[in-house]
Symmetry: C5
Subunit: 304 residues, 5 copies
């Protein structure tokens, strides 16, 4: 077996330690900020597109919890020694929770993506099923090579499971492209632009993950670990918060379109960047019952 | 007394340790994700079926708390020793909270199941009472054999209480089948399919629990413990999240059906996988009071 | 002074330890489950009866926090020694928080009870005042005898304060019976049944508390402590969750009655066990202002 | 310098320890209970008076956090030694967080008070500004004498800053009386009674604080510390929860009055102690747009 | 390299320790109070201006978490030694989380500011993009000089990165002034006053940050560190809570204006300081569908 060094075993300089701390914490805080924002603005989006927003709430909520663990374990997982920080047995958990987070959030990302796309009914369900399954398989196989087998220090296993994971990644790209091509023609101009940007953003930023994975096999030292942690934190912000911002925009634009078409009602006007996209409109009222209820009496006080 | 070895007493290899950690954490995160999703989408379902959604919020909330404890105790309950992890006195609590979680969540599962079924009134209350009681008895008797008596290391007690617990399980299957057979004929085609799938899923995945229980008596070693923890975590995801997804689908379909029949109103349109199932419709307005209230004056500013 | 042994000073066998752990945790989880359920279904009940639901949210929220403390202190308050668990100085806090919880939740229970009863106006306020004060006095005097004076190990103080506490308990029973007798005649049949069941449940389960208190003076040993902890956990589930379930049912039935009578409006239909009790109905609309506001213009896009 | 002994330096008997623990915990639980209640019943009060309720949410939320710290630090800040408890360096934080809590919550109390009073516009803003500033100054100067200077053990500093703090207190009483006298004439009878009771309650209970402050200079010993902690916990319950209950009552009564006058609409009927004070009434509907939106088509299924 | 002493390395007197504790805790509590207030009053502001409120929720939520960390690390990061407190290796984290908080909250502040300004559409997006990017760059470069490079103890790096950070600050001032000048003419008198006050407040208080940064290079000792911590805590309260209060006022005034103009509907009346600014008004109702739904039957009980 050709041995490599796992990223949670490198000694860090104090500057590296400060940079990793910084990138872990701001990723966590950015996720928290978006979680609060999106959970409190759920009603801005019509019920048709709400699964996308609910998925992004799940994604940012789960990832926030994961970063809380990463930060705490990074804090207690390295001991100061002169001007360096030396890892102890807790340091593993400043790394491996990333895989556990991704195992749940990347499948949710596929649900988020499909919920604002034009696929419907049985086709939507089939693509969603494949996307969720493929995303999980991509992460789990990466975890096998990167952490489980020989503590992630076996170059052969890294290669083997990295390649298998990569194949699932290729499958996901195909699925995403299929969804995108089915969706783009039916969207109005403004929504089409945001939708396209969201998909490009996702498919570009995802390259950061295999690159970071590769560094586990082909480099070592504190600088390598710092690069991995900083890149992954940045990629998580982009893929979870940045992507969700664009998807949320698509969902709002499509909600306004549905209201303007008369396809759906929405109790609040849809505004974006100070521009109104649709009026507030309430549902039609149920026809009155045959026998009207007794009138609620007008009164001033002392009535039971 | 024939002694067996309790699962929280086995030494684990680092690979086994990583796999258990992974399965505990992703079960916890999946429960958290569904908890957020379902709590924030409560209004999608009509008040008739809301007890089902409230039950699934209780189930995922409680199970999430339980997994937080399992994860923390698994983290501090095993000490690294060379390339192995040796359990200490905290390791018991990386196992026994499962029974405490189930003691509350399996009864809630029965409530969830009945709330989307066709049983109503006194019959619904009677079946619910039996289901809740039987579910609790099934778990509590398992806890007696698996943890309380001789620390779960007495094969005779495992057999005795395992069989008693199994009898309650048989009773629950009968109760579920009775409910299902009463319900299926009255459902529309699409709801019937999801309802049937939910019930099959539940009755299949529940087999995982007695199998894991049996491993306590008939196997030992870290591989056995790993299998038990991974299987139980997976089964909890399926029985709690997967089942709830299907039940939620039934509840939404039945809500739409009630709106379309004029049986109930619903302020939001019901959409599923991009397909609209019912319009938004608001309740009829109360007849005006005899003496109309004084009109709210139109104004611009500076009024108290 | 005749000395007795406080329940937090007994050594426990591992079976006793497992049973207490189990009863504390499932009481906490049951409280959490009901807290989530009731907080998320607040709107099911009309504003008239909402104080009852808000009280039960306070009760289960506070008791849940109390059980979190009980569980944590029970976990760290006993050290394993051979096959036994020996208490340390933290063990007191696996017991005394019960009194602190009750000091706030039993007064709230009186508020919950009165809010669905027929007492109104000044009479309701007077009974509520007496109920809240008497409930607090009942618990506080019990705490003096059971914990404060000589660490709860003085038999004379146990007798003295136990009797005083018991007198307040008798007063509360009188107050509850007065309220019940005033209320029952005015309720419709179904609400009357649930209301009566709730009151019987409460007045029966409350006997568990003085019995457990008495065991502090007249028994000792781990079995005694186990009995006390299990009984009190069970009684808390019944008096807090079971009672609230019945009170919530009364509140829903009375809400439906008010809607059917035209006494109040309710935006959602009231359903219970699959049976509809009242339609959804919205409030009447304010008469239009003298000068109608300028119409919100219909448009497609690009407007500020 | 004449030295006194700070309250967090006294040794406590076990009875004193149990009484302080009790008073700290029940104050925290009472605050939690009211926080839950008031946050979940925000919609019961009209938007005009909502700043009062939002202020009381801030007050109870902040004070609850403060009591969590007080309880934790009291738990770990005293070590058992025979039948006594001896303070360690954590004991300071079982006392000083009170000042930090008050520095934010007493200014919020002034906002709460003014929001249900009759002052409006520029006058309201000016009184609010003075009230917030004076309240902060009153607490901060007390903190300087009671904790910062010579660890609160300098009698001269206690006198000096106690007197300055007292002068701000006198200013606040003047401000409150001014507000009350401006408000009382305009209120209806029932609201006037509750408003007056709230103000009397506040101005009486506030005397507890300077009395407790004085005990720091003129007494010592565990009994003194116990008296201070118990009195302050009780005063916090009264000034935060009791006062808020009365202010909430005023806000509800004034809301009902505004609905009955036609000054405002309110979607829910206002009920208090089983008596209805105003009907539910919804806002008038916007005049229809020139071009009506296309009708939402009636349908059964399979539509996008 | 000219060395300076980092602020987290100074020994503190007990008075300095008490003052820093006080300022950290009250900043945290003020942020918590405003977080609760603003999250629970979100609906007071129209959907057009809601991004401003959502941003302030993110800002106060993130800053609250950051202050929790600062307080905990300040508590455990200094050990008592005689009448002084000596920092240990945890003390760094009673300082550096400020930069992590600012890295996310200052960009959010730019979003908050722009959301109540008059910029719309593409111009709003461009200014927002520059504001977010510039704000992040300002903080990150400050972190490089103040913490990362040589532990913030290299005077040259402090100068270099301080100047670069200052240049970004100048850019932000230009951007803010541009936005303000575009916005002021279009606002009504009352909103214009609050808007102008908010912007002056922000641009004045921001000077506190570079002044505190400068103290790292040109002063040392516990008094210096105390001044830095107190000033930054105060500045955070003003820039996060005080600024948000004014922005919220602008958003409410503009919401009322939109309702009065007929530009938007709002289900609640807008009241400020006891003065009504606009009536409650609901959206127009969707035209009835071609085929009216079957009427919801009037009934009493026992219907499914």
């Amino acid at each position: 077996m050709v041995a490599v060094i796992a990223p949670w075993k490198d000694t860090l300089t104090s500057g590296e330690h400060s940079l990793i701390f910084y990138s872990l914490v701001i990723a966590g805080l950015a996720l928290l900020g978006y979680l609060l924002k999106t959970a409190l603005s759920l009603s801005e989006v019509g019920t048709k597109y709400r699964p996308a927003v609910l998925a992004s709430i799940g994604i940012t909520g789960i990832a926030f919890v994961s970063y809380v663990v990463l930060v705490i374990k990074f804090d207690i997982g390295y001991d100061p020694k002169g001007s360096n920080w030396v890892p102890n047995s807790d340091a593993l958990l400043s790394w491996s929770p990333r895989y556990m987070d991704w195992s749940v959030t990347v499948p949710l990302l596929m649900i988020e993506l499909i919920a604002v796309s034009a696929l419907t009914g049985a086709l939507a369900r089939r693509v969603r099923f494949l996307g969720v399954g493929g995303a999980f398989a991509m992460i789990f196989t990466g975890y096998l090579g990167g952490v489980v087998i020989d503590n992630g220090e076996n170059l052969g296993a890294l290669w083997l499971w990295g390649v298998i994971s990569g194949l699932f990644m290729v499958g996901l790209y195909v699925l995403i492209l299929f969804t995108v091509l089915k969706t783009l023609p039916g969207l109005e101009a403004e929504a089409r632009g945001s939708y396209r940007n969201a998909m490009i953003l996702l498919m570009v930023i995802w390259f950061a993950y295999p690159i970071a994975f590769g560094l586990q096999g082909f480099a070592s030292g504190g600088g390598r670990t710092t690069a991995m942690q900083v890149v992954l934190s940045f990629a998580d912000i982009v893929a979870k918060v940045g992507f969700a911002v664009l998807i949320h925009k698509v969902a709002k634009l499509r909600t306004a379109q549905d209201v303007n078409n008369g396809t759906d009602t929405h109790p609040e006007a849809v505004w974006m960047s100070g521009v109104k996209h649709s009026n507030s409109i309430q549902p039609s009222v149920q026809a009155p019952a045959v026998a009207a209820p007794a009138a609620q009496p007008r009164f001033r006080r002392n009535q039971k």
